[in-house]
Symmetry: C2
Amino acid sequence: MDLEKKPRMTPQRKVILEALRQVNTHPSADEVYEMVRKRLPRISLGTVYRILEMLSERGEIRKMEFGGTLKRFDGNPTEHYHIRCVCCDSIIDAPLSLMATIDREMDGATGYHILGHHLEFIGLCPDCMDNPISPDLRRMRRTSGSL
Amino acid sequence: MDLEKKPRMTPQRKVILEALRQVNTHPSADEVYEMVRKRLPRISLGTVYRILEMLSERGEIRKMEFGGTLKRFDGNPTEHYHIRCVCCDSIIDAPLSLMATIDREMDGATGYHILGHHLEFIGLCPDCMDNPISPDLRRMRRTSGSL
DNA sequence: TTAAATGCAAAGATTTTGCCAAATT
DNA sequence: AATTTGGCAAAATCTTTGCATTTAA
């Protein structure tokens, strides 16, 4: 909202940002909440949502409103692609460089002013090929925040 | 759930399927609900969700768990790409043929078994370039189901 | 002291479920 | 008659908001 003002670097913000930068698991808000609770036992989910929103508005992290119902957050704010496992719903960065010209091409082919694009691969991760987990177990994992 | 059994083509399913096939607006469940209510005044939202889910499981339509929080549905079940307007949140099909080999390449570059991919462009549609609508108005439009 | 941030809980929004009645084979 | 489906409402999920309190400049 207030892109102009510089926010204070509160302990909560610092911890959340560091937590996101340290992992490559693309956690949901709830998972971030569990992660930072170890260091900030009194933090609330609402605050986590608020701070994640703020950080992504400022481009310090990336909100992934993509695939799946719940949003995920990415500590790496640069543009890149992802691979999502259909089985365990984990997400990794895709080893594929940006398609730099595709936006311009689409811009020309349509009346749209293209701002960017998202690309996500869907597949089965190595772990799940060996030990496929059931949808129930999958949901349990997510709920307990230990993806 | 029961991919084996062939479902009966009830009036509700027929109307919903026809409604989706006739438009290219990629409506949400709620919007589908509004669309079919004209012909089926007594249908319930729950039924719409159930039928949409069932149709997409059978590959007759496509569920877009993509960009934005709420799911959209696409009467065109073949793989294709989309352009979403950041302003009005409308979605059109992208004039770009499938990148047929990219899945195989990603398959080779990772340990994953790649099943497919999603590509979505983000941009400003021609309408919104001329008449940008406010976020408030945008939400009102969605809520009233008249995208 | 003043403005901004947090914690907590309540409210919102969207989607899914349970259950009984109604429809279909 | 046995199943399946539909309607309704309640439940479940995930996210946002209001407000009193705390924190920091």
